[in-house]
């Protein structure tokens, strides 16, 4: 009984899939231009992982990326992760996995808030409704430092281990911007405008002109005071 049923059931599904694929292909040929591949290099020409790339259309209004619910934890007196990129309107939870209290704060223009995190007590997530860089600190542990990049860009992401970031974009003109928490270059110097869609693939290499600020020291005890 089973094989005929499967064959019978397959026909309408296959038809639907074909229709969908055709519609998608039509939509793609109409709107999708190509894959934008961005390579980010540090000042000495080496690949730069972890850099934030944002892509905004120059022609017309694209829809913003959908808000997300993200988590910024506190582990061993450090923020985990040390950088989150979230769309405008997202919420972030600060759970505090440490056995010590924290007092999280930001005085950045994009979001000013204070959040005491006492052991074993959950706190409601914080809503980020304005684009910009939010620098996070702890009023008890001064060495704790992390960043939230709240973006209104429809496309964004971070470069991978080989300093690469790629995104499929509809045909059109775009502004590409780069940000990194330890960037010394001015962000304006790293902005590029380009047209996507003339060929299947658009390539862009961005190279910093100044070395990044030194990375936080690894392996030191976070339990020390001053």
């Amino acid at each position: 009984m089973r094989p005929p049923a499967r064959v019978q059931g397959r026909r309408p599904l296959a038809g639907l899939l074909t229709t969908l694929a055709l519609a998608g292909l039509l939509a793609w040929t109409e709107a999708a231009g190509a894959t934008l591949l961005i390579d980010v290099q540090s000042a000495d020409g080496r690949p730069l992982p972890g850099a934030v790339v944002t892509v905004r259309p120059l022609d017309g209004q694209a829809r913003r990326a959908a808000p997300v619910h993200a988590v910024m934890d506190q582990v061993n007196r450090a923020f985990e992760p040390d950088l989150l990129v979230i769309p405008v309107g997202s919420t972030v939870e600060f759970p505090n996995s440490d056995s010590v209290n924290h007092q999280i704060y930001s005085f950045s223009a994009a979001k000013r808030f204070q959040l005491p995190l006492y052991r074993g007590k959950p706190y409601p997530p914080v809503h980020f409704d304005q684009a910009g860089v939010v620098t996070l600190g702890c009023n008890i542990h001064d060495e704790m430092l992390a960043y939230l990049l709240v973006t209104d860009a429809p496309w964004f992401g971070r470069t991978d281990g080989s300093g690469a970031f790629s995104v499929d974009l509809p045909r059109g003109r775009y502004r590409v911007a780069l940000w990194h928490p330890r960037l010394r270059d001015s962000e304006a110097d790293l902005e590029r405008e380009l047209t996507v869609g003339e060929t299947d693939r658009a390539d862009l290499t961005l190279r910093l002109s100044k070395p990044l600020q030194s990375a936080p020291l690894a392996g030191r005890s976070h339990s020390w005071g001053y």
Partner: protein
């Protein structure tokens, strides 16, 4: 009565802390016991009525208590907290258990890039760059440098300290800047140790309102560093700069503003006018390297019958440490001197010290340490008390510390 009067600020803090236990926020606590195996060639320590420049003399060979410690932090709401640090070292103090630091901290959240902090109670002025772990311990060596040993023995702020920081690193800059100012009393006795015994290399912190030396045993005779004699507040002002998480620079001007002509009517103790400038740098780099250098230059003066006697003092040290995972190897060189004005008077000292230590943080509870210390010094006072003018003193310590706490 006098004792009660002097301890009034402490009692106030203790009752505040007791009241705090009834509020909802959990108390943070830490309890630790540090046992030592000691082998020393030094003379009796200053606490034991001697001129030894190390914490333990040859009479202390064997197993000793390094420190038993209980620390409590009680938050009151978000921005207020009370801190209490109580320790037991030996039976040479006024009481077996003493409070080394006790203070109320007001720490509002930063606003517009600036943060203000206010401390009230008894605590260390911001001088040391090596005493950075809980209980004002050093993560590099068991014994503190000569400079910070002196602070541990007879310097404490019993008063108020305000600190204003500009948090540049939270606004996209590479550095933070801070200014500190303190106003204090109950430290008119600071200087008695410097003039009598000079610099030592120890890790015994005199509790607030504690005594040094033994009553009736010169030279210190149970002197009290934490006395208010002339009812004139002392003050200090300092600067701090931090570059990323790598470099800390500190400078402080301190003056207890004691009137050196005054004598305590209760105990007969003399007011010591102690002033100093201090500066220091701590550099931390990749691969676990740390370098610390501190410098101290000051003097202390008494003039009980109008005849001023002054002891200028200066000290410096350089420390190099390397961390290998949970192991830390450190080496420190200290240099120190006390002079006299008029020259040739009682109290001149000159010396240097080498410290080498290995610290192993086995887990959050157990720490093991081994430290070798050698102090070479000349001391006029020691010679006057039938000791040698020149002495080389060595101390070897093995430490086993067990710690428990709300965050371990």
């Amino acid at each position: 009565m006098g004792l009660l009067r002097r301890r009034a600020p402490l009692l106030m803090l203790a009752s505040l802390l007791a009241a705090g236990c009834t509020v909802a926020r959990a108390t943070d606590w830490e309890l630790s016991v540090d046992a030592r195996g000691v082998s020393s060639s030094a003379a009796r320590s200053f606490m034991d009525g001697g001129f030894g420049a190390t914490r333990f003399g040859s009479n202390d060979d064997g197993v000793q208590l390094g420190r038993a410690r209980l620390a409590l932090t009680q938050p009151f709401g978000d921005v207020w907290s009370v801190h209490l640090d109580a320790s037991m070292y030996d039976n040479l103090g006024r009481s077996p258990v003493g409070v080394t630091e006790a203070f109320v901290l007001f720490r509002p959240y930063p606003r517009a890039g600036y943060r203000f902090r206010l401390k009230a109670g008894g605590f260390y002025p911001p001088v040391s760059l090596e005493n950075r772990t809980s209980g004002w311990e050093s993560p590099y060596t068991l014994s503190y440098s000569a400079i910070n040993s002196w602070l541990a023995v007879e310097v404490r702020t019993i008063g108020l300290e305000g600190q204003l920081d500009w948090l540049g690193r939270h606004s996209g800059h590479d550095f933070d800047l801070g200014v500190t100012g303190g106003v204090f009393g109950w430290n008119d006795g600071a200087g008695v140790m410097m003039a009598n015994n000079g610099f030592v290399v120890t890790d015994r912190q005199t509790p607030l309102f504690g005594r040094i030396g033994q009553p009736g045993v010169p030279p210190l005779s149970g002197a009290e560093p934490f006395l208010e004699i002339d009812h004139r507040a002392g003050a200090y002002a300092g600067l701090e700069a931090r570059y990323l998480d790598r470099l800390v620079l500190r400078a402080l001007r301190y003056d207890n503003r004691a009137d050196p002509t005054q004598v305590d009517t209760v105990s007969g103790a003399i007011a010591w006018n102690t002033r100093f400038n201090s500066a220091g740098a701590r550099l931390e780099a990749e691969h676990g390297w740390t370098v610390i250098a501190q410098w101290l230059d000051g003097d202390t003066t008494i003039a009980p019958q109008g005849h001023a006697l002054t002891w200028p003092f200066h000290a410096e040290f350089a420390l190099l440490a390397k961390r290998f995972g949970r192991h830390t190897l450190s080496a420190r060189y200290d240099r120190f001197a006390v002079e006299t004005h008029p020259p040739g008077a009682y109290g001149a000292q000159d010396g240097h010290a080498w410290t080498a230590a290995w610290l192993f943080d086995a887990d959050p509870h157990w720490r093991f340490a081994l430290e070798w210390l050698q102090v070479v010094s000349s001391s006029i006072n020691r010679e006057e008390f039938a000791g040698p003018l020149l002495a080389t003193e060595k101390q070897l310590q093995l430490s086993v510390r067990y710690a428990l706490g709300s965050s371990r």
